[in-house]
Each structure stands twice: as C-alpha cells, then as structure tokens.
Symmetry: C2
Subunit: 188 residues, 2 copies
Amino acid sequence: MFGVGVGGGRGMGATPSSPTVDAQTFRRAMRQLAGGVCIISAGDQARERTGMTVTSVVSLSVEPAELVVSINQGSSSWPVISATGRFGVNLLSDEQAVEAQRFAGQGGLKGAARYEGAQWHVTPDGVWLLEDAPVALACTVEQVWTRHSHALVVGRITHVRGIALMGASHGGGPLLYWQGRYGRFAAA
Amino acid sequence: MFGVGVGGGRGMGATPSSPTVDAQTFRRAMRQLAGGVCIISAGDQARERTGMTVTSVVSLSVEPAELVVSINQGSSSWPVISATGRFGVNLLSDEQAVEAQRFAGQGGLKGAARYEGAQWHVTPDGVWLLEDAPVALACTVEQVWTRHSHALVVGRITHVRGIALMGASHGGGPLLYWQGRYGRFAAA
C-alpha cells in the first residue's frame, strides 16, 4: 500500500512514501489530524434551521476579525449559509460531546431537531448561538471559495459571546476529535 | 468590554455579546479554539530552508487529495513556499513538543537551524518531511487566496508517509495547542 516514492528507491526506510495518494490513504492520514470541535449553526426564523459539527474552523485575520471554515457543499447547512449569508461558530467544551453528536446527525437527527435540548441565544441579526459555549461567534459571509467538494467560507465576526470570555474561572477545556473519537485536552 | 449587542438591550444576560469585535477580544476568543499542531516545512537545496509551527491545517478535498493551510504573509515561510510552490505538512505527536517549539522560533531559532536535532526525509521533489511524524505530507501549491494579513494555501498531496500509517500499534497521540499551551489528547 505504501510503495516507493516517485523516482524509485527513495522512501524505502521504516516509513515508506506513497507516490499517488488515493482517497483511502488520504482519509486515513487526515484522521490523525486532531481538531477542536465546533458546531456551525445555520438558518433563522425565515429559513429552516440546520447545522453541523466540524473540526475545520481556522482563524484568518485579526483586523478585521475573520475566520474561515471548510464546509462540504453537499451538506444540509451549505445552501442555508449561502442563502442567508450568516452563520454561527460555537466552540464546544469537553462537557458538550452530546451537542456535537446531535449536530453530527447521530440518531438521524436533522435540521431544527438538532437544536433541541440545549439553550440558545439569538443575536440581533438572527444567528443562533449556543448559550453555554465557551465561545460563540456570529459571522457574516464575506467571501466564498469553492474547490471540488468543499467551500471555504470566510466569516467576519459580528458578535462574540461565551462563558470563557467572562474570566479565568469560567469554562472547561475544549472538546477534541481525533481518529473518530471525542476527547479532552490534557496539559503536557 | 463585552457590551450589549447591536440593537441594544440584547445579550445582557450571563454571557454578554460584543457588537464590535476588537482585535484583543477576537484573539482572546480564538485562543479557546484548540488545534492539532503541525510543522510546515519550506525550502529545499536551492532555497534556504525555513518552516513554522501552525494549528491551521484543514482537510479540503479527498479526490483529489488536498488540504488547506492558513499562513501569515509576514512569516518567513510564506515567500519560500510562494517561490518553490511546494511545502510539507508534518503532524506532530504529543512527544514532539520540542520540535513544535523549535519551529515556533523558541530561543530565536531561524531558518535551517530549526531543522537541527531531528531526522528528516527528503521526497524526490525536494520536500523535507519529519522522519518520526505520525503523518507527513508533501504538497504542491495548487491555489492561493490572500485576504488581509493571511494567505490560504491549497496543497495537493504528492507523498504521504508516517509511522501512524504503518499499523495500529505505531504512533502516540497528537500534539495539541490550546490557550497558549501544548497538551495531549485524552479519550473522553
């Protein structure tokens, strides 16, 4: 499966290279990339709410405050974000794995049903933010770049809230995802 | 610091909103976003090697195998990646915090000096990959989107290697970064 590198004869040591990267190998490799878990909330009163669990949020620019999230264009959230031009990013604590699972569609949950069982704050511009999130950010879509299956969505922050911003004593550690499992952060 | 939301009178509960997101607030919020730690390697025999430690790598597309990394255009790595059109992504294990610190410039280390003290594999196309990384990927630059301070660089994978791909018994957990500290993954 992991053959020699292009050019032959290289990468024949303990950790061989793969010259062509098939989907299975790439998936297997990227499962090793740990990520902080976020819920993307989408929709408002006018359009059906939905949302998804991701590990693909990255800070982009501080001034102006912007982040970027990679979203599968085949997801139920994508057309809603595209239509409304807004979305929420809810960073989860290690006590919120249940919320992560709901927004990952566990048990077949879809759309607004994923929001049940938790408390939500609605920003003046209609973005739903998880009440107990360590940090939750309301965003307007500033730019979208599409590439193959995914869209890279640049969000400019319009609101920030969250218990982790209230003081050092508030909020637990982050919820993490690695190799298909949830976990928590342990200090080195 | 965290005033009422736009429209007034909203967000006055336990977790207030901020209508305008200043740099300090945004930085404080994004420190709560945990990430898997990677070393970006840049440069080759022809151009001075350098590199940087990031938590901004995200999977983008499976077919073709592509990832995206957010890079500050003011970093020493950016002009080298831009000139060579290639870079490496080295996922670190929780036993490799020393490497993360070297590539974060601890102790004033710059350029090729960051590579010392570790073993490296050079791919046929000249990308330096950390020998003992759980997963290391050589990439060619397929697309660059710039926005304010940062560049979003799309890398197509040309080689994958790493001890985590050799079997379930190889490789430790991932190195994580959260609130300015390194840590490890603890199963929930």
